[in-house]
């Protein structure tokens, strides 16, 4: 009897918990019924359902931010309230409000709340889209080229926030890229989409291309197997550095001007890495890569070379042997020359 009571209570509890979830889902569908159609509500109030649905904000439901909406909306004529970003993002917002940026742009100028994703779910180039809305690419390149060696390489490979951040730690994020086809009219590599990788993985999940044992974690051996697999010769891993924590204090810490912050062998901050897989919804999902083997991981990535950081100790030894070889003649011959010097005194 006691058992039956427990089951009954558990069932009731589940019902109570499930009601708001289903109501939330219903509300979003209701809202998107009108707001998902630009013709009906106009461009300003249009919500792109494809972009909104995969966001964390969508999981919370429309009412979380627009709590004044009633069942009679829009016939009730009531203005719809909006939550303030700082209600939830207090710390980040506080950091941002203290910067000069806050005088020029509010949160929604950079982050569309109906499309925004966390740092884990976006690629490096996508992180830069916010910046490039105001900062002209040529100006950025010119101002960096004044003092930064290989400015174009740094700017093309790193998100702006890698340096313009107060985050002390970094992680390495590897993206899968692929050779562009002739039909695409461009040479070089572009980020592979979910559909691109599905062509390689077939029935299986795209993660299985690298995570062979399906344990949701990539070992060094798996990474090497992927890099060496001739079937994936058109796929390359593209590594970049991303701040370990998201910060909105966009100043640059002094140590970032010291090249050896990154360009030295094995900085502690480069030990954590992830592989970023594209998702069906157009975002990215990170999978952890074997810890403490970051530099080894990068050695396994043919097109990733960071001067000073990814140096191979095997190559150092080979180089040293070659250089030492250059001293055999002076030392060996020189000794014999000294010992036989009398023979040449004529």
């Amino acid at each position: 009897m006691k058992m039956d009571c427990r089951i009954l209570w558990s069932f009731l509890l589940l019902m109570v918990l499930a009601v708001p979830l289903s109501a939330s889902a219903m509300e979003m569908d209701d809202c998107l019924g009108c707001h998902g159609d630009a013709d009906e509500v106009g461009d300003e109030l249009f919500i792109d359902a494809d972009k909104f649905t995969p966001t964390v904000h969508a999981e919370m439901g429309c009412m979380t931010c627009h709590e004044s909406v009633t069942d009679e909306h829009p016939d009730d004529g009531e203005a719809v309230t909006r939550a303030d970003c700082l209600d939830c993002h207090e710390e980040l917002g506080g950091q941002y409000m203290a910067t000069e940026h806050a005088e020029n742009a509010v949160c929604s100028d950079c982050h569309n709340p109906h499309q925004v994703h966390g740092i884990e779910a976006v690629s490096g180039p996508e992180m830069n889209q916010q910046c490039s809305q105001c900062h002209d690419g040529i100006d950025v390149m010119d101002s960096h080229a004044e003092w930064l060696p290989q400015a174009s390489l740094h700017i093309s490979k790193l998100p702006c926030i890698t340096c313009h951040t107060s985050s002390e730690s970094y992680v390495i994020v590897l993206n899968i890229t692929q050779k562009q086809k002739k039909s695409e009219g461009l040479k070089g590599y572009r980020f592979s989409s979910y559909a691109d990788l599905k062509e390689y993985s077939g029935e299986k999940e795209i993660q299985s291309l690298i995570d062979i044992d399906g344990d949701n974690h990539i070992s060094l051996a798996e990474l090497r197997t992927f890099n060496r697999n001739p079937a994936y010769k058109n796929l390359h891993l593209n590594g970049t550095m991303v701040p370990g924590e998201v910060s909105h204090d966009l100043t640059t810490l002094d140590n970032r001007y010291d090249c050896t912050f990154c360009h030295a062998s094995g900085p502690g901050s480069m030990q954590t890495s992830f592989l970023s897989f594209p998702t069906e919804g157009g975002t990215y999902q990170r999978m952890s890569v074997e810890d403490g083997a970051m530099l080894d991981t990068l050695y396994g990535t043919p097109n990733f070379y960071m001067t000073g950081s990814t140096r191979s100790s095997a190559l150092n030894i080979i180089g040293l042997i070659i250089i030492c070889g250059g001293f055999i003649m002076p030392i060996g011959h020189g000794t014999l020359r000294f010992l036989t010097r009398k023979n040449r005194q004529h």
Binding site: K179, Y189, C259, Y305, G308, S312, G319, I322, N343
Partner: protein, 231 residues
């Protein structure tokens, strides 16, 4: 002037000397800055990492341009590139062996060098073979790979085509190590003249003392060696 150089031959023309010393300082600069770029934790001779990179790039470009001028000068102006740097059949058949025998045996017995340099035949067969590898294979490759590494972003497509950035960097470093290894050997061999500074002075002034009576020795050592006719 004529009397001053009566017993001397003009072995190293000005363009060659300028090129040589430019190369020497350039390669030393590249070695030191390259070491700092690869081992910033241990080498900081040139100050900041950034200055090491700028200096390495500048020295690399100067050495590359100087290499191109050297190539142009010997091929099109002096027109002696093939004659000086490409070993002849004779050199390969007996010349190298004779020179090896001299350096590693008869030199210690006090015999004279079987090769007598002339403006048309500056290098002994061993030198020719080594310089052929250095000047026609290693230098162009190290210069080219360096130019690629300076322009990684604009040349990304080409770099991927030749096997990736990592392969390029490894090639650059290994070639650089080979060239660095050549330096002590080169400097040491330069002291094997009649006096230890003889050859070094020649590379500074252009003039080398003519060796006396080498004609007879040469007949004993190498019948028919072309070098004798030039002296």
């Amino acid at each position: 002037m004529a009397e001053e150089h009566e017993h001397q031959i003009y072995l190293q023309p000005i363009p060659v000397r300028i090129w040589h010393w430019l190369n020497a300082f350039g390669i030393i600069t590249l070695t030191v800055s390259g070491a700092q770029i690869r081992f910033p934790e241990y080498v900081s001779l040139l100050g900041s990492y950034k200055s090491a990179i700028y200096l390495h790039n500048a020295a690399g470009i100067i050495v590359s341009i100087s290499f191109s001028l050297w190539f142009f000068y010997y091929t099109f102006v002096a027109r002696s590139m093939a004659n000086l740097y490409v070993p002849k059949v004779e050199d390969l058949k007996s010349g190298i062996l004779r020179q090896v025998k001299f350096y590693f045996l008869t030199y210690f017995l006090g015999w004279d060098n079987p090769h007598h340099p002339s403006p048309d035949n500056k290098f002994n067969p061993m030198q020719k073979s080594v310089y052929l590898a250095i000047m026609f294979v290693m230098m162009p490759l190290v210069n080219l790979s360096g130019i690629f590494l300076i322009n990684v972003d604009p040349l990304r497509g080409l770099i991927v085509m030749i096997g990736g950035l990592k392969l390029l960097a490894v090639l650059h470093i290994l070639l650089a190590c080979c060239l660095i290894a050549f330096l002590p050997t080169h400097v040491y061999l330069a002291t094997l003249g009649r006096t230890p500074t003889d050859h070094i002075k020649t590379m500074w002034t252009g003039w080398e003392d003519e060796e006396e009576g080498h004609g007879e020795e040469q007949q004993d050592e190498s019948k028919g060696e072309k070098a004798s006719s030039g002296n």
